[in-house]
Symmetry: D2
Subunit: 288 residues, 4 copies
Amino acid sequence: MQTNPNSATLLIHCKDKKGIVVSVTEFIHKNNGNILYLDQHVDHQEKEFFMRVQWDLEGFAIPTKKIGDYFTTLVGERYAMKFDLYFAQNTPRIAIFVSHLSHCVYDILSRVSSGEWNIEVPLIISNHSKLKHVAQQFNIPYHVFSISKENKTEQEQKILQLLRENAIDSVILARYMQILSPQFIAEFEHQIINIHHSFLPAFPGAKPYHSAYERGVKLIGATSHYVTPELDGGPIIAQGVTEVTHKDTVENMKRKGLDLEKIVLSNAVWSHIQRKTLIYNNKTIVFE
Amino acid sequence: MQTNPNSATLLIHCKDKKGIVVSVTEFIHKNNGNILYLDQHVDHQEKEFFMRVQWDLEGFAIPTKKIGDYFTTLVGERYAMKFDLYFAQNTPRIAIFVSHLSHCVYDILSRVSSGEWNIEVPLIISNHSKLKHVAQQFNIPYHVFSISKENKTEQEQKILQLLRENAIDSVILARYMQILSPQFIAEFEHQIINIHHSFLPAFPGAKPYHSAYERGVKLIGATSHYVTPELDGGPIIAQGVTEVTHKDTVENMKRKGLDLEKIVLSNAVWSHIQRKTLIYNNKTIVFE
Amino acid sequence: MQTNPNSATLLIHCKDKKGIVVSVTEFIHKNNGNILYLDQHVDHQEKEFFMRVQWDLEGFAIPTKKIGDYFTTLVGERYAMKFDLYFAQNTPRIAIFVSHLSHCVYDILSRVSSGEWNIEVPLIISNHSKLKHVAQQFNIPYHVFSISKENKTEQEQKILQLLRENAIDSVILARYMQILSPQFIAEFEHQIINIHHSFLPAFPGAKPYHSAYERGVKLIGATSHYVTPELDGGPIIAQGVTEVTHKDTVENMKRKGLDLEKIVLSNAVWSHIQRKTLIYNNKTIVFE
Amino acid sequence: MQTNPNSATLLIHCKDKKGIVVSVTEFIHKNNGNILYLDQHVDHQEKEFFMRVQWDLEGFAIPTKKIGDYFTTLVGERYAMKFDLYFAQNTPRIAIFVSHLSHCVYDILSRVSSGEWNIEVPLIISNHSKLKHVAQQFNIPYHVFSISKENKTEQEQKILQLLRENAIDSVILARYMQILSPQFIAEFEHQIINIHHSFLPAFPGAKPYHSAYERGVKLIGATSHYVTPELDGGPIIAQGVTEVTHKDTVENMKRKGLDLEKIVLSNAVWSHIQRKTLIYNNKTIVFE
């Protein structure tokens, strides 16, 4: 992972005013921080300002633990900013949820195993035992929680308990075929990433490849988004498409979709763990 | 246009049976025709067979005018085929319908002017006078038919009359912003090509870029389809997408969409005038 | 794998003449074979004919073992055809060669493990022990053959012996960083697939990402090709590109390239194991 | 054109130091300028800093004519900056050079005609009379300068004289098939944009589609770059590719390439006229 291991990242948004960029960069500059990355965005329609800035903490005058406080006092309050502050030294701890299909979870775990991604995956959760062997291959605990209408609330509570015990930050739904309850989602607001196998908003819900086949589209897609209580309606992080022709059956679309799904999901997760995503008005700003 | 100018093209479909390819190729082979192109497709779900075959008429034993009859008798009836027979010597005659935006009509006319496409454009029709100068630049008659609720039926009849007088085969809706009546569409069934500025079935109807912006998609698209009475619901011929980010305003999406629209429309028209499209079950087989 | 498990596939090429398609389809049709797939290609410049045909063996009149002989006698000799005949029941046996990077081998093994691909991988070969853990995760024997100038010939002989003992059909070089000798390549002619991390013919040889960075290209690519004695000069099977900008360092290009490499390689291998590739004049016909 | 018509744009580069962003944004902020766009880039290998900033001149404290001087004194000299300052009110004046193919020049002129681009095209220059009708369609003077070995220097001098008389800023080589002399290029350094019909550095020079066909690539491309004395070796602005298969003849590649060439060239010109390009070390920074 090419992130400087001793860096801080601020993700900021507030109403747009003159001077915000100056104030933020001055805060870093005056305290002897070297800016590694700066990107900003203004939504002129909403008059909202967004910024991501990352700087080297080597020699930074403010101790790491106090940066949040100082920034709030010296800059944040002046502009009524909402901000998140991340330190590269804190490795994201992520749980992966799966059902029957292994392509996404294999893609993620192979990135972790090779060192391409610097995250920890303390556990894999499924409603089936089917992919237990994948978890075993990578020495990751695999927990099965079968879900029925009757036991859903109870099982979700047990899952949440397990996530808390493992200090999980974020959840990846790697073709997990259960719908999470609003209560569950609320506890990991904007921290649950799903992959849906269509170019949303086309073909939400079940069996999108069947729908794509019926409609005769010439492109099939995949969409990775943050999960909200509205099914397949959350802020989109990444999308991709691939060409299909009249020759492609539903089965063939499913096969072509496998690569699309795993790459689009991984692109979204990469942006998330790099702390490059910021949500506003059910849309996602994805800094480069 | 790379098509052999003395060639015939058959577009065939019927229930799938053993021996169809043999029968068709034998018909051509035995009559001394050299096959230039052959592609077939079987929809195994519908058990329907589709084929496109093109052959050189040089030295072909059956006179051009009788090929249709002979084929019907010797092959077509045996398999209860539906087929269309085209001769490359008959240049397609196409009317272009426009409203306010010129990018698509410019793209088409520049292809005709350069010889990239071998079609004739005997007239351009619009509900506005705005693009008259474009028609004049290319010396093409430009007819304005303003459309209102009250006069729509009457105006469409006048347009149809004009199309008949000009022996028009096909119609291109180059961002023509009027909805054609089912009666109009019926007269040019599967011969009217539209460009819609979204990746259908996402965002049908008006203002798709606004909808794309609101939903926060990371891809915008364009879809070219044959026009049917269902708005934006006809068989899709070609689709394309381009990436957008949080930085793209509606205005910027519109600008990025211009290129997408003109290229996707032209790809669809190219397939159509090459006689490479075949419609079945509201879907389009597009041979290569 | 969607291939009919009881099917045969013919890959044919010969000088183009009238009647070849008829002869081949008649051979299958008259012996009660149902054609599942047929595609043909004529290189009009070289006047060479290429064809791939696949048919259901259920009820086929000629016993599987004799199909090759009968086809030679009844069709092949008449047209001086070269052909390969494959049976879907024979699972391809493939060896994977690796060095330091695991993304491609993980991608391949996860496809095998999930059942997406129906191949057998009896062994993995490397010039390093580094990826032994990957082989162990998938329970595949891992053999290390360190290569030096002095021992290359000898080591290659040992590798070849091992491949023979394991009845290996094809070899995948999954970022294997050794150059194989012409003798080695000759034994697996057109059966060794490599992935090169550039859009060939740009940037052959070592360090293509460095070269891409130096040249300031806006696209980086990957190319999968059959290995021939000319370095990075063999017939291309699949290529892909992804966008880069001035912001992308060499390190970042390498990271972006990982996905490109693994997907392009897997696309090529998929075509190969589906028996959809045919080599002629140092180019690859890849049927759909 | 969505650019604010009363805005200024600074393109800056200098050795990277702490505080540059602060200094530049303070200069604008303190003089009551509202930043519309800010993007920066640091080449960490070369330790070079690049920035593009655009701001609204409405109410800006420094008169337009003096902004350059003030900026030099107050900011530029401190950091030894090289910078270019542009005002949106100054419409770019561009000459188009053509030879036989009209697709690129049509594409450009249709963008100007529709108002998509806000540039002036005072003249078109060619070494042939072939495309005179295109110039006439758009009422643009068309000048023919036939070029031979003997008269090249003399003819180029006449062309340069004409460009000066027309106060031309930039030149677009829209498939102009002559090589410009180093003297000519020097007078319009980094202001001449060419389109080459391959994905450079693959297939520089003549007949790239023939070379692509021979090599059997699965992608063909187009590259737009600033012209330097090294043939097809200048800084790349934009590139694109499209898929080809074994079915594509050289003629077909040429046809597919037409769209690629015109879109890639127009993308490059769009970046150039938006003042989003900055050249360094024979590479192009293209701000978004």
